[in-house]
Amino acid sequence: MNDRAGKIQLGIGAIVAAVLFVAVVIPNFVSAPSNVPNVILSPRFWPNAIALFTGLTGIGLLLTALRHPEDERETPVDVDHRGMALLRLSGVAMVMLATVYAMPRLGLVWTTMVAFIAVAFLVRTHHPVSAVISAVAIPLLLYAFFAHVAGVAIPQGEIVRLP
């Protein structure tokens, strides 16, 4: 992807988002009382104004990209194997999703230990032993601070409970 293609994608994205907001999202998900004396004071005015400016910015980006077809600056290739990189990205997305779902059941400490190891594996750490030691020690230390010093009720889960 080059800079021009990026601007075109951003421009189209912004225009589509603006249209969706004005036509679908704002009318359905922003409640406005029927007795608002002036449209400017309505709760819908501000989101509509932002959507309008987003659309205009999108048009601006699109025009800028189309006006300079010569601007084909290539974004430097930053990964050797794109397929593997995408696989790793899906992996980290799964880790995040699993973290959100596991936290109430396993507790914050155990979940973050697993998440630590999973992310260390995904970034292909050269120090697996340090990673495992840190994966156990860091969540425990943070638990000790937040639960016993800051007085935050850290979710403990249903399996192993910490003091």
């Binding site: 951003l10 910015t57 800028t64 914050l108």
Partner: protein, 502 residues
């Protein structure tokens, strides 16, 4: 309350072991955070923020200010030793700092960086003390139309100068403004984009959005392309900076400090342009100008003075007007709000003891920076050796605990992850994140002042141009847009004429 009474009230607030310990710890965390390539001062401040919840407001804010000050200096250590700036602000330091390190004068370069940083920091703090109160007393006469015009100007300049394209910056700001509308309407109390979820009625949590935007994308980016940091640390050499060197560079340091103060007090400019401007001015005025770029100590002094001169001055618009000057001050503004304080002119009336307490703390921070910085220079080898494959998973765990601790709410962790992906996409498309975050913070304020102005005038928009103050800000906004658009056009035309794709 007289100024002496205010100072004594401030002193009473900070003259305790806890405050100074927080300040010292903050500087140490900042130096370490800034010195680790890939962590940056911004991330260090963001990650420290959750630890301040259990502290008193003044202690917590002093801790963050310490991290900020330490982080700005810390960035210069890897810039000099391994040619990797810890933050963009330290990029100018590489130009002469790294050649000095290659010539076996790393210790001398780091010593000068520290001396210049501390001097600039002190000048910047004194400027803050001198100008913030004056600006705040002036801002007390601002009404909603004036605040609306001021915030609009700040957003325009931040959107314009944060990235390489005004339009990308504007898009980022629009996304931030839209996200800020989530929650209950400010006037009517009706739902906006809450999708029936009670967790969203109070709006999205600022810290979840902040950490999601700035820390999580770094982790995702490392997963996308895991490459171990391959820089090698080098010995500091036997050559140390002397008072004679400092005296030789003093003019450049003072000049750079004032450049930093001036640029730092304008919201959005930030430390990197200040460092480069200070460096180029020093080169222009120096008798050794041909040695610049080859390891000239004055170059290191000027660039470090330029970027540290910004550190106190960015607090001028924050404390006096309630408008953050950059991302780090936006985070610090969030800390004020978490502790129930609203920065701005009224703070000089309602919480003058906290203001003066912060001023005293800031002056002391320059001394701490000198002491802790001297130790950090020698200890950098250990900091640089932390493998990124262990560091970034640790940052993830820290983010999860920190974000959860704000409201004891697991929903915020989900928001953080979602924002992390938004931040990663923005990173890939080179859309700057700073306008997003600052628009997210200032959005409710902008809308609130707009609607108050409309209520005052019976929905007549002419009120937004009601007097010299609003004219002044509208004129600045127009000039900013025209100047940035012209610069962008000229740059793209130049690259096309030169046949060199930009």
């Amino acid at each position: 309350m007289s100024i002496v009474d205010s100072m004594l009230a401030g002193l009473a607030l900070v003259a305790n072991f806890e405050s100074f310990l927080a300040l010292g710890a903050g500087v140490a965390i900042g130096v370490i955070g800034g010195a680790i390539p890939g962590l940056s001062a911004t991330m260090a401040v963001a990650l420290t923020l959750p630890f301040t919840f259990a502290m008193s407001p003044i202690t917590g804010i002093l801790l963050l200010l310490g991290v900020y000050k330490g982080g700005v200096f810390g960035g210069s250590i890897p810039a000099i030793l391994i040619k990797t700036p810890g933050s963009p602000a330290s990029s100018a330091t590489v130009i002469d700092g790294y050649p000095m390190a290659e010539n076996g004068q790393a210790g001398k370069a780091l010593g000068m960086a520290l001396w210049a940083s501390c001097t600039a920091d002190l000048i910047s703090n004194l400027s803050l003390i001198l100008f913030a109160g004056w600006l705040a007393s002036f801002a007390l006469s601002f009404g909603p139309p004036e605040f609306f015009a001021l915030i609009l100007f700040s957003l325009t300049i931040i959107a314009g100068v944060s990235g390489d394209s005004l339009l990308k910056g504007a898009l980022s700001a629009m996304l931030g403004l839209m996200l800020a509308t989530v929650g209950l309407d400010l006037v009517y109390g009706t739902n906006r984009f809450t999708f029936g979820n009670p967790n969203m009625m109070g709006g999205l949590n600022f810290i979840a959005v902040l950490i999601g935007l700035f820390a999580i994308p770094e982790i995702i980016a490392m997963v996308w392309n895991p490459k171990a940091h391959d820089g090698n640390t080098r010995s500091l050499g036997r050559n140390w900076v002397t008072f004679q060197d400092y005296r030789k560079c003093f003019r450049s340091i003072v000049r750079g400090s004032f450049i930093g103060v001036f640029l730092g007090s304008i919201p959005g400019i930030g430390a990197a342009p200040s460092a480069f401007l200070s460096y180029s001015e020093a080169r222009r005025k120096s008798p050794n100008r041909e040695n610049f770029g080859k390891g000239e100590i004055e170059g290191v002094a000027a660039s470090e003075a330029g970027n540290n001169g910004v550190a106190g001055a960015t607090l001028i618009p924050l404390l006096a007007l309630g408008v953050p000057g950059d991302v780090i001050t936006a985070i610090i503004m969030g800390a004020f709000m978490v502790h129930g304080l609203q920065p701005g002119p009224m703070m000089f009336v309602l919480n003058v003891d906290i203001i003066y307490g912060l001023f005293i703390g800031l002056i002391v921070s320059s001394v701490f920076l000198f002491a802790i910085g001297s130790i950090a220079i020698r200890g950098f080898k250990y900091v640089a050796d932390i493998p990124r494959g262990v560091l970034l998973p640790a940052v993830l765990v820290l983010c999860i605990f920190g974000v959860y601790a704000v409201n004891n709410n697991l929903f915020d962790v989900g928001v953080m992850f979602a924002m992390g992906w938004v931040g990663f996409v923005m990173l890939r498309y080179e859309v700057p994140a700073a306008p997003f975050l600052i628009a997210f913070i200032l959005g409710p304020l902008l809308e609130d002042n707009f609607r108050q102005a409309m209520l005052m005038s019976g929905s007549n928009p002419v009120i937004l141009f009601r007097g010299p103050i609003t004219w002044f800000f509208w004129a600045l906004t127009t000039i900013t847009v025209v100047a940035i658009a012209r610069a962008g056009l000229r740059a793209s035309r130049g690259s096309v004429l030169a046949g060199d794709p930009k």
